[in-house]
Symmetry: C2
Subunit: 188 residues, 2 copies
């Protein structure tokens, strides 16, 4: 069960993406939709809220995302691990994963791709810079709308190491008292 | 204590970087050296072994890394959290962090920047593409040499959420049996 989603300022996506969890990326283009797993991403800037994602050209989603210039980055948690593995192990070329896996979806506000409502957070993205796509499959997206479950504050996320093995980020350790005030909030 | 380091094929860096841990980045240029924390990075390719890192232009390390075209990405573990916080909260402009924090260092093989020997893994990097540095502070590095502690296989790593709070990746969950063979190893 996912707690009610609330809007989050888009720069707040950092709290969910910087730890490096596996994401589920939804896309939609010319009536076709897909969802894929993604472990290769990084925050790039707070304002505008930019994130870089490496999406292999071999993925069916590559064409949908490049064609539409949009996607949603959904953050799954530990209880969705079987769904994550199932999504990562079948191709949208041969499978309608939404139907086969009975994925609950909702409408995004600013993009056509669906939100995966069972995920802890959903970040609607528009392609901001395609300069590195041809050479490196690297898409630079701007997060234009952020939705996040009201709790827990720090969900248990899945982090992929390759070879079918995930590590789970769970234990929370605060060292807030040891930080310079200027480096808290969105400081770097 | 860190177990003896062994060489790792450079594409194997994925197992340590893809989960998204905070890194300690060492650099050296024209006799000056520094170390900084970095949470904004992603694997980009296996072969060559490419990693993208976002290093703010405000960091002292930015100039050393851009000037030398080299750095080392060191992977600290939970027991180094106080060192990580101390490194992240002082600037190399005013501090020699290696001396002040009594950091153990070793020689890299292919770059001038030092290895942090207390870290679980060390990845020697050369700048491969600087095209996105001016606009986004995004450096594309090639990992040219990889060193990793022989055990544990999955160390407890620190993942930064902002605001002084880390989550620790510890629990290991294998779903290897549910993966297509073609997606294991370095499959994506």
């Amino acid at each position: 069960m996912v707690h009610r989603k609330v809007d989050l300022p888009v720069h707040g996506a950092r709290a969910y993406l910087e730890p490096g969890p596996v994401l589920l990326v939804t896309s939609c283009h010319e009536g076709e939709r897909n969802v894929m797993t993604l472990g290769w991403h990084t925050i790039v800037e707070f304002n505008p809220s930019l994130v870089a994602c490496v999406i292999s050209g071999g993925n069916h989603s590559f064409d949908l995302i490049r064609g539409s210039g949009e996607c949603v980055l959904n953050v799954p948690t530990l209880e969705l691990i079987d769904t994550v593995v199932a999504i990562g192990n079948r191709s949208g070329r041969e499978h309608d994963k939404f139907t086969e896996l009975d994925l609950a979806i909702g409408d995004a506000e600013k993009v056509a791709a669906p939100l995966l409502t069972a995920c802890h957070a959903n970040f609607e993205c528009r392609l901001a810079d395609a300069r590195m796509v041809d050479d490196y499959n690297l898409f630079l997206f701007e997060i234009v709308k952020a939705h996040v479950a009201s709790r827990p504050k720090h969900p248990k996320t899945l982090h992929y190491t390759g070879d079918g093995v995930f590590v789970v980020a769970g234990k929370v350790v605060s060292r807030r008292g040891d930080f310079q005030p200027a480096l808290l909030g969105n400081g770097r």
